[in-house]
Amino acid sequence: MSFVTMLEQISSGMLKTILIFILTLIFSLPLGWIIAFGRMSKNKIISGITGFFISVLRGTPLMLQLVVVFYGPYFLFKWSIGNWRFPAIIVGFSINYAAYFAEIYRSGISAIPVGQYEAAHILGYNKLQTFFKIILPQVIRIILPAVTNEVITLVKDTSLAFTLSYMEMFTITKQIASAQTTFMPFAIAGLFYYIFNLLISFVMRKLEKKLNYY
């Protein structure tokens, strides 16, 4: 196999890796808020169930969760799961990351002094205005470093999709490496993950700077 072919194949996997990454963020970042609100709910049943859900997602391997999401429908309902591979990966990743984001959001919200809510209340802001105008902007600044950490971990975690033999970059890399008995694909893939994360760190640092106006 020529170097160019190798590069082409790895690049096609790279696109899939990026797709997993982007879709996971698109779903898990908002879903995390829903879970966080469930966790903070005054209703003991809702917060209890959400808490349990979070602890299971954080306390079991993501690899295992991916397998469960993928094969679950077949074992439970005998559904055909032929086209389910890619959606299962996105669902598995999104739910898992949402659980982590939820805990980050929750810690950010609890860092806001109660006086901020009281001031907003006295000034006549309603609940939605208070959340979106007063609380959320402060929370985002607080949680940004923790979110950045998760996002960087996600770049690396995308490789876990190999568990379901999905042809993202890591799966392809492994295949080429064992077929051609060469180390080169790993070096290329490693370089890619590294550069991708450098880029993300750069963007997030810019964002942090931008939010550090006060």
Partner: protein, 256 residues
């Protein structure tokens, strides 16, 4: 005084936290243009009373009226509020200045002042902006419009907080120890601003530990002790009272 409109009326307010009875049947009223100071030892229930008046805290008994309109009352042990849209109108009657300012750290000084008038009261933006500038000028903060709260001294922050409350044009302004989070040298500038408001006949209810200030600006003073109003009267009556608790309180302050 009696012919002036009653702005706030609180009747038979009772409040307990668990077994601790913090307010035992407190009644008071505040008239148009009046400055009422509330003094008393730590833990006597002053903040709780303000928090109930501003509806940040619920009560176990009693009723609160603003401008003659019932805002909240307790009947058969359960709390009743005015209808939501009435309550919203009633709440426009008062503002509150907190001990620790509670400015919004992510908003500039100007935005802190104008955001609620524009987005909550839906008032004309240009009008709100020019009024806010005028308020800042009165507070001696004209050059601080674009600053963020963290870039200001405590005294400046508290003056911004006062301006923010005034921007909503409340009828009654409450203060809960507005200077006790400040260094002594910054206390004066805030007290001066409040004194100026008193001269402009702003109706105010002020919880304070600044005795000479209270004596100086108040029309009426309430001395609270262990959840009851122990003395109420004009400054001379209250400070010259031979109530032993009052004497003890003043003595303690002198020795601090």
């Amino acid at each position: 005084m009696s012919e002036k409109t009653i702005y706030l009326e609180m009747n038979n307010i009772k409040k307990s936290f668990g077994d601790l009875q913090v307010l035992k049947d407190i009644s008071l009223s505040v008239h148009e243009g009046e400055v009422l100071s509330i003094i008393g030892p730590s833990g006597s229930g002053k903040s709780t009373l303000l928090r109930i008046a501003t509806m940040l805290e619920t009560m176990d008994g009693g009723s609160i009226k603003y401008m003659g309109e019932e805002a909240v009352y307790v009947e058969n042990g359960s709390l009743h509020y005015a209808k939501p849209q009435n309550l919203r109108e009633i709440k426009k009657n008062f503002g509150l200045v907190f001990q620790n300012f509670n400015l919004f750290p992510h908003m500039s000084v100007m935005k802190n002042l104008t955001d609620a008038p524009i987005h909550v009261q839906k008032r004309n933006k240009d009008e709100v902006l020019s009024e806010a500038k005028e308020l800042l000028r009165k507070m001696g903060l004209s050059d601080k419009e674009d600053y963020y709260p963290s870039q200001l001294s405590g005294g400046q922050q508290q003056r911004v907080a006062i301006a923010r409350a005034l921007a909503l044009k409340p009828n009654v302004l409450f203060f809960d120890e507005p200077t006790s989070a400040l260094d002594p040298e910054l206390t004066g500038e805030v007290l001066k601003v409040i004194k100026r408001l008193a001269e402009e006949n702003m109706t105010m209810v002020i919880v304070t530990h600044e005795m000479s200030f209270a004596r100086n600006i108040s029309d009426r003073i309430i001395f609270m002790d262990k959840g009851v109003i122990a003395i109420e009267g004009n400054p001379e009556e209250v400070f010259n009272s031979d109530n032993p608790r009052m004497q003890e309180f003043l003595g303690k302050l002198k020795h601090e």
